[in-house]
Amino acid sequence: MSDAKEPSGSAEPNGGVTGADAPGRHVRVVLVDDHRMFRTGVQAEIGQTERTGVEVVGEAADVDQAITVITATRPEVVLLDVHLPGGGGVEVLRRCAPLMADAEQPVRFLALSVSDAAEDVIGVIRGGARGYVTKTITGTDLVNSVFRVQEGDAVFSPRLAGFVLDAFASTDAPPVDEDLDRLTQREREVLRLIARGYAYKEIAKQLFISVKTVESHVSAVLRKLQLSNRHELTRWATARRLV
């Protein structure tokens, strides 16, 4: 990892940044999207919020390229489009599974897509992405999200939170499996606030908990979404004719 040159972290960036603004932090990012215009746009957006130290070290336009670039550069975070030639974001996730599992320097994925169709969202999250944001996100929020993902937290957009709530909502189901399959009351509350458009910091204030706690709740939700709940998710997806 190249050293960050500018010791600029002291400048407090705008509101929503959580624990991300440790001075001199530097995140290496690969951008995977088949639209060059969009990649340029993201670059420019990130460039405008330079001080937070996100560095785009590679770009890719399809699945094969993405694998090559990611393996070569070993970024900390990959911004991944869902719709890609050659199998889509899910395919990239599948083929990068060993990199994600790497204990020393895991590659983490943040889905960044124009699509907010439920099957796309749920698909990449279950494929192992640590978060999902739509392309309408502002540059600042995007940078914050990258930091959060790099730290191992999950990033949920309101819409994604809505889908997750929807997936877990049907409580009339037979009492399946362990408690793991259920969201706790607190997690549900947190998700609900995310769905209502609250930032993590606002949620923390609202619920009188720390931002870290909010993040751990969200991570827990992500874990449940990925690891368990296959049962309910399948049922949910079937009910919606998504599978």
């Binding site: 907010d116 309408t136 309101p158 819409r159 930032a199 609202q206 004719r241």
Partner: protein
């Protein structure tokens, strides 16, 4: 054919009504009817063409049949030469409006239960054939050939009708699930013909040679199959491939048409209104919403835009879209669960709409307005939040009734609750809660 009756635009008598409607210059062409027919659709087609009741034509055919089988020959000739017609599928002939309600009703009935009519027709034909056989007084030798001939005729009819059905199925693209049945029918037809032909051979006194004749026939068939088989397989493959391509091309044309209509149109408007940021934003948002709805079509949005929404999710989406269009402020909608609208919920929707309008008007500068609706058990919760300068209900003069009446008052009158509060980091959130009405069922 199941699934067939549903397509009501198929007209049994395309030429009868459609031609004057479509193009008066076209000569009235005779088609066999593909709908409500008993055998080949000849009688029904003729009846439609001549404007006579079907039963008359059928009786005439039966009568002619009695005259030394002339009717059968005639029928076969018609069947062979007259094309099968389906109104409304052929591009040149738009769906005809049949005025004959009686015939229409009858046709539908027959179409829905095709087997009944066919069985009746077959029985009738057997009876007629028997009468005919009993009546005909040919030379003793010739009479013996009659039954094999009838058998051959029945087999040929079976196969031909099958071919007609296959053709019709192609027009309307009926699924392939009936393939086994098709094969069975064809096999039965072939069997009948074979039996008839063999019968003739046997009668000719060459019974002793029957075995060798059959063997020779089999050898010829196998030879033909070997020679033509690969070619046939290849042809069917090509055909299905071509069909696939056609379907794809159609789909692409549809996409192109949609993109052309809406997207290009919007882009033109945007270019023209480039200096007015609000208008551009509004257009872009409306277009985005439209395109999304079209691309990702969630369940239940296939409905016509015009009619009233009858579920909560639909109502929320509609309200948000309308407010967004009107005020040019993006509104992000997240909906969890869904339920049918009742009286209280309708009031809640109106209150929510009012809240969205307020948020768009006074809080729209801070970014998108966020709307969240959730159905959990009996409770329906709607939250509308903006990131504007905030709002203090107590600071609003008492004569300004907008919020008090149309949001809070409306909710309370209908047994719900409304809360307005300032969000810690600026902005206002309106929370609306309402119990769903008890199910009456």
């Amino acid at each position: 054919m199941p699934g067939w009756a549903g397509r009501v635009n198929i007209d049994g008598m395309p030429d009868a009504a459609a031609v004057p409607l479509a193009d008066p210059r076209l000569p009235r062409k005779l088609y066999r009817s593909s709908d409500g027919r008993w055998l080949g659709g000849v009688a029904r087609g003729l009846a439609g063409h001549l404007g006579l009741p079907v039963i008359w034509v059928r009786l005439v055919f039966v009568g002619l049949f009695m005259a030394d089988g002339l009717g059968a020959l005639l029928y076969a000739a018609f069947w062979f030469f007259v094309p099968l017609g389906v109104g409304g599928v052929d591009a040149q002939r738009p769906p005809a409006l049949t005025t004959e309600t009686a015939a229409d009703g009858r046709r539908r009935l027959v179409a829905r239960k095709p087997d009944k009519g066919q069985i009746a027709a077959l029985l009738l034909m057997v009876v007629v054939a028997m009468v005919f056989v009993g009546k005909v007084n040919l030379g003793g030798g010739a009479k013996a050939y009659l039954w094999p001939t009838v058998l051959v005729g029945a087999g040929v009819a079976l196969v031909w009708r099958q071919a007609d059905n296959a053709r019709r199925a192609r027009w309307v693209e009926v699924g392939r699930r009936r393939r086994t049945l098709t094969l069975l029918r064809s096999a039965a037809g072939v069997l009948l013909v074979t039996a008839g032909v063999s019968g003739i051979f046997v009668l000719q006194g060459s019974a002793a040679h029957l075995g060798s004749v059959l063997q020779a026939a089999l050898a010829v068939l196998v030879g033909i199959a070997l020679l033509a088989g690969p070619y046939l397989v290849r042809m069917t493959q090509d055909l299905s491939e071509e069909r696939l391509m056609r379907i794809r091309a159609q789909e692409r044309a549809e996409v192109a048409a949609h993109v052309h209509d809406s997207v290009l149109h919007t882009l033109t408007l945007i270019q023209r209104n480039a200096e007015s940021a609000n208008e551009v934003r509004r257009l872009a948002r409306a277009q985005e919403r439209d395109l999304r709805a079209w691309l990702y079509k969630p369940e239940g949005t296939g409905k016509d835009e015009a009619d009233e929404p009858d579920t909560l999710a639909e109502a929320v989406r509609r309200n948000a879209a309308e407010v967004e269009d009107k005020h040019g402020v993006p509104i992000e909608v997240v909906i969890v669960g869904d339920c049918p609208l009742d009286e209280g919920l309708t009031a809640q929707m109106q209150a929510a709409r009012e809240a969205m309008v307020n948020a768009a008007k006074y809080g729209g500068d801070g970014g998108a307005v966020q709307v969240y609706a959730e159905v959990e058990g009996r409770t329906v919760f709607v939250s509308v939040r903006d990131r504007g300068p905030g709002f203090d209900l107590d600071a609003i003069p008492g004569d300004r009734m907008g919020v008090r009446e149309s949001i809070i008052g409306r909710m309370e009158r209908n047994g719900g609750t409304a809360r307005l509060r300032a969000v810690p980091d600026g902005g206002t959130e309106v929370e609306l809660e309402m119990e769903r009405a008890e199910k009456t069922s």
